[in-house]
Structures are given as C-alpha cells and as structure tokens.
Symmetry: D2
Subunit: 345 residues, 4 copies
C-alpha cells in the first residue's frame, strides 16, 4: 500500500482525486490538507464521500507529507513550487496538478503566470505527465507535472498529425470548449449558474495560459516551433472538454488513411479511444471516466483535416491522469483504480 | 459467476444496469435483448461501455434466457408478466424493474395500468424488492418486483414514522421531484431539452401510478389504509429524486428524538444514510450511487414533521436497487459491485 | 414622464428593473446608483442593454434622488430604511424591492433580519405591494413594500381559500421551488453552476425569512394567526418559482367549485391567470413575463386541496410587480410596459 | 395594418414568430395553420400566448392565405415550394423561414435536400433575406428566403473580411455552436434533455446543409468560389448560436484596423453590434433579441484573425430576421416590433 497525501483538497480536482483514491486498491490515504478547513471532516464538505472515508482536513506540514510515498498537489498555481524541493529532498515523489512544473522555461512561466518561479532546477527535471508521450520518463520521475485539461485534449488530438509531419504546423487552430468545473470551486460571479447556464462564450481569445503549454509539447514533437491559435469557450455544463482541431494537410491523404494512423498510434493506450470512422465524440461518453475519445475527418475530401477530441476535464484532464501517472511511477497496472464506466445519461 | 440476462436494454434503466453489471465481480453477462436493435453492439448505442463489453443485442428467446440464473426485465410495463411464468417454471429467477409485479391486487393493477394482468398467481408470490423492509423474503424469492423510483424515496422517508405510528397517516403529503431521466429514453416532445430545461412543473396531480404502490406499502406497515397526497414534479436535471414529506405529529416528540429514531432504524442499512441534524439532503450527493440520504425536521417546533429524502432515480430508484436485490438473492455481500462514489460535481 | 431613480442596480432585480424601465413609455430613467460601479456604463455590465440606454452608474445622493418622482430600491436588506424617511420627507415616493418594509412589527423584523429597524414609523405607513389585495392603498402610498418572490406565489395561491375560510388554516403547507437567480448575483460557491446545476435540494427548512411575511399576509386575511410550514427548494434553472400548496378542506367542495372560485376571484386581475381545469402550470410559461398562473386540484376527490402557482421570481416576484405598483401609484394603465410575452422555449 | 398568415405554426420558429407578431403594432394576424392541430387554440399549445391571442390553428387553404398581404412559412423543408408559386401569382408576398429558396442552383438544392425542387423559376427571383447585404432587393421582393441560423451568424462575421479581400478565402474555418432549439420541436431521442444536457458534441462534420448556403453567399461577395470548413456543435442550452471564425490574413493589418473596419461596416445596421475591442460576445446578451453581436481579434499579433459572432437562433437566426424583412418589404421602420431587450439573466 502506498502512503498518499493530497495537498489542497477543497477544489474540484481535489474532491475528484479523493473520489478516485478512496476506490484505489493500492492507496492508503494518509493526509489531505487545507489551511482554511483544517479539522473538518472531508465528508462534511463533500457528502458524496460519506461512508468512504473518515479523514479530516489537516494543516499542511512538511514533516508528515515527506513521510508519504507520493504527494499530490491540487493547489493554486505557485504553491507547489515552494514545497516540492524540500519534499523531493526528503524522498517523497510528487505529482503537481497545478501548472508549476508544466513549462520548461522559467522566463516563459513567469510571463504567463505573473510570478518568479521558485525552483527552476526542479523545473528542469520535472517530467510532463502525458503518459501517451512520456511513459518511460514518468516511471522514474521524482516530480511529474500533470498536464492541463485543455492541453491533454488538444495534444492527444494533434499528436499523430504532428509526429508524422502531415500538416502545416504554423497555422494550427484549436477551438476548445470546457464545462464550468474547469473554472474551479472558488466563489465567482462569472460562473454562477444564473450567469453561465443558458450561455455560450469564448474567453481569453488573446491568450490563455494553456497556449504556451500546448505549443511547448507540440514543438518538442515537431522539433521546431509551431504556430497555434487556441480559443477556449465556456460550455453550460459541469464536466467535459471538446476540442475541435483544424489544420491544412500538406500532402494527399485519405480520411481512411488518417483513421488508421490514429488507430495504430493509440492501439496500446488504455485510455485513448479512436472512434470508428464517421462517429462523433460526445463529452458525456467520458463523464467520470479517464478516457480520451478521438475522431478524425477530412470534410468534403478537401485539404483541411478536422479532429475532435473529448475528455472529462476533471478525470483524464486532471485527477484521473494524475492517478494514471501514479500507477506508472509505482509499477502498478496503469488502469488500477481507473476502470469507472462513464455515467450516461 | 452468475449467468445474467437483461431483457430490454435500450432504455435508461437498461444502460444503467449494464454500467453496474459490467463492473460486478460475480456477474457473467450472457444476454441483453432488444427486438429493435438485435445484432447491434451495445457499446455502439452506449459508447460509455466501449472497452467494457463486446456484447450485442439479441432477440429475446425463452430458451436461452431460461438458462440464466437471473433475468432482469428493463422493459415497458406489461412485458415481463408475459414471460415470467415460463421462466420461473424453468428455474430462472427474475427481477422486474417495471411495474408488473409491484401491486398485489390484480384489479388495482388493471385500474392503474390499463390492461389485464397476465399472471395473477405470480403476482401473489412476487416479493416487493425494498431490502430495508423485505430482506428476508427477497433472499428466497423467485420473482422480485423492483420498487418504483418515487416509491423508494417516499417509502424510506415515511417508514420510521409509520412503523412507530407517530403521525396522522390519513393526511400524508409527498411532494416529489424527479430529473428527466425518469421519463425514459423514448422520443417525446415534453422532455426535449428545449421544453424541459429552464422549466419546473408538477404533473399527474390527479393520480400517478406510483400512488397506489406507495399506499400499498405504507398500509402494510400501518396495518390499515393510509391517506396520501402524492404530487410529482419534473426537475430540469438528468438524475435524481427529492421527496419532501409532510405529516402532522400525533404526540409530542422533539426533532432530536426523531433524528435518533431514523438513525437507529437505518443503522444497519448499507444504502440508507441519515444525515446529521440540520443537514439538507442534495440529489447530487447520490448521483451515480446506490444511496438514499434522509433528513428529518420539525420546523418551528410545531406539530408538522418534514422529511427530505434523496436518491438517484436510476440507481437506488432502479438499477442499483435491482443489483442489491440480486446480491441478497444469491448470498453475495449486499454491497458487491455497488460501491461507486457519487459523481460530484 | 416620470422621473425615476433606481438605487442599487447591479443585482438581478436591478438589471430586470432596467430591462422593464427602458421599455416603459412613461419613464424617464434619471439615475441608477451603485457605490462600487460608479462611473461605469450600465450597458458595459449588462450588455443586453447596449443600444437601449447610455446611463452610467452614479453614487447615491439624497439630493438628486429626492428630485425624482419615484425611487426604486434594489438594495440589500437594511439599506432602504436608512434613506427612505428623508426621501419621503422631501416628497419622493418609494418602492422597496428588498424586505425593509414588508413586516409590520419591528420586533419581528429584527428577529428575522438580525438588525434594529431604522424607521418603525415608516414601517407603519408602508403599504404591502400586492395589487391583488391592496390596490386601493397602493394608489395613495408614499412607501410601497414590494412583496418577496416566494410570498407572491404562495399568497396568490392560498388567497381564495383563506378568504373564504374553506381550509384548516393551522396546517398549511407550502412546498416552494425557485430558480437560482433568486439567490442573487453575489459571488458564492453554493450557486456556482458546477454546484447547483444537476442538483435539487431543500434549504432553510427550519425557517426562511419569507415565512413571517406570508404568515402576516394570510393572518390579515383570516383575521387570526395561521399555521404554515414553508419549505423552499433550489431548482437548477435561472428563473421561475413554483409553489405547491396543500391544505385540508373543512367542508365538502368539488374541484369544479374551487376552480370557479379562483376564476371569479381573479377575473379582473390583469396578471393572475387561473388555468383551465386539469392544466398544470409550468414556470416557463411566465419566463420574462409579469404573470402568475395558478391551478387548483382535489386529487382523488379527497379532502386535501392542492394548488400550484408559478411566477417569474424576477418579474411578478420582483421587478415586474414593482412596475405594476408604480403604474397604480401614478394612475397609469396597470399593464403599461408590462406586456412582454414569456420567452418560450 | 397588414393581413398576416403563418403556415406551420407548431414548431419553435412558429411560436417565436407568434411571440413577435402579437406585439407588432402593424400586424393583424389572420391565420396560423397546422394540419395536425387544426381547431386547437394556439394558446393551449403555447401557454405563454394566453391573453395575447385567441387565434386557433386552421387547415392551410390557398384561398384564404392568398388574401393576406404576407405569408410566412415556418414549415419543414419542401413544403413552401409547393404553395408559393400560386400564392405569388395571386398577389401575396412570401417569407420562407425554411430552406426552399435559399440556394440559387436547383441541382445543388436537390443534392443537399434530397428532393427535386418544385419551382426553379421562383428560386431565381427569390431574394436572400439578409438585410445587411440585400436590403434594397428585399424591399421589392415577392419571395424572401429567410437565411438559416448558422449562415446568419457566420456570414455577418466573415462579411467585412471577404468584402475587403483581406483573408485567404480558400481556407476559411467556421466552428459554430448552437443551442438545442435549433434542432426543432419534433420528438427525438438525440435532443431529450437526458441526452443533450451535460453534453457537448460536434455533428455533421462531413457536411451540413448550411455549408452550401454560406459558401454561396460568401462566393457572391468574393466574386469567386470560397473554401470553407464548417463544423456545427450542439450546446446544452435552449437558445443561442456562437460562431468562432478563423482565417489567415493576407496582409499586415492590426486588430485596431480590423475593429474599425467592422464598426464602420455595420455603423448603420440596427441589429448588428460590434463590441468594444477586447470584449467577448456571449449568447445570453442576445437571448430573445434580434441582435448579432460581433468581436474581432488577432491573437498574439499573428496572421490569424478570429471573429466571434453571436445571435439568438430563433430571433436574428429565424423569426426576428423574418419580421425585419417584413418591415423592409412594407416600408415600416426596420425596428418596428423588434425592440425587445435580451432576457438576462
């Protein structure tokens, strides 16, 4: 059994981690920390956990966290980077669900996140936790940067095309849509139901923090900078991301060819499901499940390829992928504790 | 391993049964029937099941169904009663998720369901599958009538009060609210999202089929007829039932007394959770889970008791309760395959 | 043209007042105040008003407000009572959409609202602005207390029964449900879409501020105290209230009699619509409109009467009723500016 | 007063037309036809109209329709084309809200709509009713083809760019999203709330009927064929379309230049609102209103332009635009009866 701690458990990625951790057969949940809720039963805040755990929120303490085999950070950006160096020094391994270790370049990180990075050296060693690209290095990583929700959906969608240099990678377009849980559990006017329900809107058109993250990953695959326009939108639903991706094909290729390329690329991936040709992904088919479902199209046999990729932003886009990374890091079967069937309807 | 068949698997109770059955460690899913979809992969219709089962819909055939240990009926009312006598004669056991075996009196059944009952003798032996009342007889039953969704929420809410004769049982009021999945997966104008979203309404105020079912159960507990006004309402959400129950107390009793009564009554029940005093039930705390959560109040220390009871209509109100009944019938731990944490948010 | 001011225009009742005021042919909107947003264009905060008004939020100033014919308060409870005495002294008339003038007894008010009342004398003269009861006194009132949203729906539903002493008024039950806009536009976790969508729950079962308001009104009609259990619930939709009302009939009366009683009672009311017998009210039929639609039932010809009453909480339950009161106070046709057709679907 | 008829009034465009027509000061609504509902009061089917009209559905009859000044068709595709030649011959003018007269080429129409066109000659004379392009010809038209909902949002968004030849018009991308009312009021499984709520999906990626319509319009502006990838998506809300449009800029131009271009292009348009730079359109700001709101962006000062355009699919995307066309055809002020403020929240 792994001794596991979660730092910052009062948000949606936190409670989703708990939902998955209490059902994981190899996990002994030792600590879940929250400064503001210290002493309160977790199940009092999240009554879906009544009967599954008696654990209480506690103050984060380096001493006790360091005794754990693995520490998850489900904290606001900028928190993990202050504690991780010491934790790693004491032998704990870390998966950060925030953005502290996602960008390799501390200057770029500072530009997008508005603060100095506290441990550029750890940044260098941290592994970007997208198993479909980095499984081997995740296995031995001390620090895993769990990918952002949009980057997971967009990167898995573009990956086979970029790996095979099939498209003009200077004009990639990612039109992405997310449910409101992506905005987090903080009190806010913009995501009140009376504001966000019965509404659809783009946001952050001029620049979203997930843009440099996606660019970095695709550039590492292409071996050169890529051009990407990324426009996120807010969908009046709780969970789910759909990314519609557009690119111009550089050479003649049929929809059938592309479908086969995707099927082959992800054939051994337990959590990427390439749908039969002509089938449209729907976010509800992954609600509560650690799957990414993908389809690829060439409308009207033109030179524009369209990829649609769906995930549950809180599962494959956050907590589920974190568990998947943990399974890899500790040598468990990658699917352990992740076999939930999506809740449909 | 149990050999299991599901008759009629294209509706919401059907797909929910499948979600639970594919995860049940003692179940070997042999058949899932649908006349209209015969030959089609179940996972093509319900893509959340992709990767969990390769089973195809097949024509319902008495021969093959009778070979199974247990046959679930997730069919429209009036279907099961035509097949059950023969199945039982051949040794299969049956759980009917429709209403065919819920009412003891064939005349009353005819009045509410508009057709002659096809097997009044089986009606007599069928056990009403509410484990919290009938666990012992469910264990040995050949035919279990799985309770309706509203009756599950309302009955569990009233039970301790009626068992202890604490209330005027001639003027019970059940104001119940259900998500739209309760209306089923059939094409219909009234539950189009453009009709039922952003709307709230009562329906069937003058008489709903679940009324005689609740009355029958409460009368059997009270040992006399009860008076009940039952008003269902449609809530713009997918899953969940909340029932607010009102009755006049016959004697002096405090809210604390009542809370203790409920806690004691359900202390050994794995799927009924009496909340701490002052806590309000919310349907989302049981979404996807086989729980009923209940609170009891005496507002302003008056003589009116208010009980609020929540379930997921598709789980404790249908498929989950059916699995619970199966577990009881075959001597498994009652919680086997039913430990899903509710999906929150 | 009336010179009109709105104090506190950044909440939902505020923006709804603006929607109706900009379309009212007799209104010259002079001021809309907000301390926090002073100087900002109203249409920048509420872009639905782009093209309809260029007005900016301004600091509330007694001098300028007092020049207006009518001042609406759409402020938090406890704000209006501090400004109203002076405004009235200077000749302005006031409609308060908050609760400051709804309860006649300053002690009761203090108990429920947790502060001393600032002007008990104005409390005495203020008229409760339910036109269907108090039209004559509204006409000449200097201060109108615009009713709460739940009280509007519940009171109009019970009124004919209480006026005619047809029911046991010591055990009235009001099971009420409201969309989330009723919770206001303040940042809050509980009404984030990720929390309140796909959820249904009761709240404030042990006592809601609208309880004493309804009791006061019904008691004034009955000429004695009434007993009322009032349980509000939160519905996952933006607008709308439905109240299901239950009472025991004291004498033999048919559903047909009751229907006629309701039709007659409201025959001359422009904004109360008694539906044909057997028809269920739906909140969407009043979305954006100043109507209350009501049905009355006697299920199974028993002795329990069921009334269902629907309104849009922001219109007939707030801003629309306020305009209706203004029309009465200034001698306009009562429907002026209130002829919007509900938005369906 | 105009004598007005609506053929086919039982769908969402039909009831929306009625909502607007009953409030139009120049309209005398003579007939509303429906074969299936003939004899039924319209307000019985659409209770939001109670009190606004007593009209009943009637059988469509050429005789009586021809007496009207204007006949709206809110019928399924393929219906209007059978009646319009005779109506026009008798002197009535027609606005078709379906697709019968939208495509100029009868062969293309046949390809996309799967039937022979019944009156290719009328097709030739019909005017595409987008006032922002064709106001002059609409004025004198006998037959107006009211644009599709997606084409309205997409065309108004691309128009200034194509008119000024600023973009590579061979690789236009329109990622469009619509609320479920766009799917109509017919009984269907796919748009049941339990299916479409809490879900987001693309559909018709390989070809939607609105694709040739948009292409035809943009080609007429560009004076050559354009290349367009159009991907519609279904949003879990009732009303609203957002279209995110992407194109590669052919020459250096700043975001400020483009914003000015859009502002100037639509300066005199009563129903197109170019938002201030940096402001994101939201569908809720046009809910129930005849507006199109547009923003234009050049993210990261690159060579990709992003336009976001929102409408209410039932108003500016259907019934409102039809009234706007009627106003133009009969010389009324273009905004007559169309000054509704969007319902927010």
């Amino acid at each position: 059994m792994l001794a596991v701690a979660v730092v910052g458990g009062t948000g949606y990625t936190g409670v989703e981690l708990l939902r998955l951790l209490v059902a994981h057969p190899q996990v002994d949940l030792k600590y879940i920390t929250s400064r503001s809720e210290s002493g309160k039963q977790v199940a009092d805040m999240f009554p879906n956990l009544r009967g599954f755990t008696d654990i209480c929120f506690s103050e984060p303490a380096l001493e006790t966290l360091a005794e754990c085999d693995i520490v998850f950070f489900a904290t606001p950006n900028g928190t993990a980077m202050k504690m991780v160096p010491e934790l790693v020094a004491r032998g704990a391994r870390v998966i950060d669900l925030a953005a502290d270790f996602r960008l390799k370049d501390a200057e770029v990180w500072k530009h997008w996140y508005g603060m100095e990075h506290a441990c550029a050296d750890v940044l260098a060693e941290a592994v970007y936790g997208l198993p479909e690209m980095n499984r081997a290095s995740i296995k031995s990583a001390r620090v895993v940067a769990n990918p952002g929700c949009y980057p997971t959906a967009v990167t898995l969608g573009f990956l086979p095309l970029v790996e095979n240099a099939l498209i003009d990678d200077q004009h990639l377009i990612a039109d992405a849509k997310s449910g409101v849980s992506g905005a987090g559990r903080g009190a806010s006017v913009a995501t009140l139901q009376a504001e966000s329900a019965e509404n659809f809107k783009p946001y952050a058109v001029n620049g979203h923090r997930h843009l440099p993250e996606i660019r970095q990953t695709l550039a590492s695959v292409a071996s050169h900078e890529v051009g990407l326009t990324f426009v996120p939108h807010l969908v009046p639903m709780i969970r789910g991301i759909e990314a519609s991706l557009y690119a111009t094909l550089k050479s003649d290729v049929t929809a059938e060819d592309l479908h086969k390329l995707y099927v082959d690329r992800y054939a051994d991936e337990p959590f990427v499901d390439v749908l039969p040709e002509g089938t449209m992904p729907e976010t509800r088919t992954v609600k509560g499940a650690n799957n990414c479902r993908i389809s690829v199209f060439i409308p009207q046999q033109g030179d524009t390829v369209v990829v649609s990729s769906v995930i549950d932003n809180l599962v494959k886009g956050a907590a589920g992928q974190a568990i998947q990374n943990m399974n890899i890091m500790f040598g468990f079967d990658e699917s352990t504790g992740l076999n939930q069937v999506a809740l449909l309807p």
